[in-house]
Symmetry: C2
Subunit: 432 residues, 2 copies
Amino acid sequence: MLIEVGARARQAARTLARLSTEAKDRGLNLLADALIAHQAVILAANQADVRAAQQAGLSPAMVDRLTLTPARLEGIAADVRSVASLPDPVGETFESKTLANGLRAHKRRVPLGVLGVIYESRPNVTIDVAGLALKTGNAVILRGGSETLRSNRALVEVVHQALRAANLPVDAVQFIDDPDRARVTELLHLDAYVDLIIPRGGNPLHEFCRHNSSIPVITGGIGICHLFVDETVDLNAACRVIHNAKTQRPTVCNALDTVLVHRSRAAEFLPALVQMLSADGVVFRADPSALAFLASTPGPKNAAAADRDLALPESVRLAGPQDFDTEWLSLVLGLKVVDSLAEAMEHIHLHSTGHSDGILTSNEENARRFMEEIDSALVYVNASTRFTDGSQLGLGAEVAISTQRLHARGPMGLRELTTYKWVVVGDYHVRG
Amino acid sequence: MLIEVGARARQAARTLARLSTEAKDRGLNLLADALIAHQAVILAANQADVRAAQQAGLSPAMVDRLTLTPARLEGIAADVRSVASLPDPVGETFESKTLANGLRAHKRRVPLGVLGVIYESRPNVTIDVAGLALKTGNAVILRGGSETLRSNRALVEVVHQALRAANLPVDAVQFIDDPDRARVTELLHLDAYVDLIIPRGGNPLHEFCRHNSSIPVITGGIGICHLFVDETVDLNAACRVIHNAKTQRPTVCNALDTVLVHRSRAAEFLPALVQMLSADGVVFRADPSALAFLASTPGPKNAAAADRDLALPESVRLAGPQDFDTEWLSLVLGLKVVDSLAEAMEHIHLHSTGHSDGILTSNEENARRFMEEIDSALVYVNASTRFTDGSQLGLGAEVAISTQRLHARGPMGLRELTTYKWVVVGDYHVRG
């Protein structure tokens, strides 16, 4: 029964909230040690998951995602040690003030309480989330994917050993060891015990949680990201930024999806961009507005029947109706020519998921307007969208990238796993 | 169709987000003027609601809640002017930093977007919420109670006239002019257009919203509030604070519900407290642990059959099994004697709604432990729980008191109706 899991998590959360930073860090370091000490057991369990996945016909990419190796396990342990070394947000006081009547008030940072984390195949999430939760004094209920049930069981057993060794409550980290999807729905309704649901996975998982949860849900991790090349841009520099944003790690949410180019620079810029990125395997989906500028691109032409008459480069196709609303997560890039900053911003308004969008410009007024009017979690001027990342932005760790508007936006680090309480101290004050 | 209402709200929100503080304040002051200028129309509509409520047999207290008078309307207009005079949180920048690679990042405060506010009878909420939303650049969709449909219609018409006069989008404030409860459910699923649901009403409304919404919901306004009188307390001062917390305005969520008294002071304190508060009409629900200390209270004895043998004061009854889990919202006060601070905190942990709980003490260590271990939105030391209020705590205005843990806890003022975006400025920075 998940109700009992919830009640135990709530009880553990009370203990966790009062722990010293030292006690939590000691637990984290013991966990890192235990992951290495017990790697044989963990890797054997993971091998069983890998074999089952191969037999079930999962793609090599999927199998790779769920595979643990000694090196990967060492990386996971190193991440846990790194979380231990970060400052503890719990107990921080802020916004201290003395009111006119002499009452002294401040806010004090406290853990959120109990987290429910629902994730898909990657078993590193199990340890990652357990570590972030422990550091912030939150209890956590984990629901991993069925493909990694054996790995997760072994990992959670190691977490429990470390918690026991550190004299911390084992119920701080609980795992729903039942692949029935009904357990997910049950978890989403445990509002008496769980304070926050964090889904980690694709859009369908986020949608399911949002529509079926009576607990607040952090929505995020879906990025249709844009860069607008304005009329004042340094074209070479812009090519470098776009190359980075598209190709440095194309499978993640902060990778670039669409380039918008001001018409006055399109003839110069688009052929150069296509030539440079094609060399690294990028293929393009071009709006009709961009096509005319691409026929002059050097190199082999596209032989596809539909596009043959357009004399397009081999890597370019005419964009389909859904293409500008697609998060590519691969080496595909949308291209569109616009007549103005306003048109670029309107396109972003209509197609962005509110994750990461930027302008490449040498004009301060254009930068200012873009920063003011684009309402994405991260708005960039002259930088790659790939910087949307907790460690890149100085948060130290990251539990999710939020694209919703409540509580936290953008990368969520340790502090975003906390809330606050007001503390008000008087001298037997009464309200007049 | 609410979808169209949502789409218009979203469009209005884009315009609102870019308004200057001056433009918004001008709109607010025009609204205050219009409320006075059109008071005859508003009061006539309200009179029709009042007559219908009387005919429907609503209690005089309920009828009073929905009644507007010239004086009340002036008060509402004055509140709108007061919101206009508050600082505008939108556009504030904070947490500016320059990263090691030279990227400059900061957070900029922006409106939440579109608010859905679902409330019960009091028509002042219509103007109150419209004003707070306009000040913070949020569009709002209002769903008032059916008892005040005519009043709300008239008030929203005045809001629209003011918006037009101020050259602001009229869709900034929309009203669901349909008493069918199916519209509430529909609003709760408009997640494509609405960013936050704020219910204002009793527990059933909050529960309904939490369980039926695919949009984040602010839960709050339900307070089972405690004060613990420890062994070191100044008894006279404690009596004054408890008197204030219980009687100054007993119908609201921050009014006191339960007093816990350390056993070592109970014999002195409880009879004095009961005598003092009884004089102002307070009646008591006493745990058996408190009863023995009350037989010696001067004054008339309780003649009720069940309690007669206990020789209790007239105002005291034995507490029933649900009494310590009841938000009284009236002149009822629970009493219980405990043996220790730990027992007091355990009682609060089990029975508090996490709203406002305090300790009355002269001992610093007790105060420190209470502040650390009690996890309510507001934790008090030597002050009345009645201070849980946006204006009392220096927020200027208040849209709700949150008892949930995400986004905001305790009084929510203007700033709590905003979110932030990250702005990152580079020099054509790429991620390595």
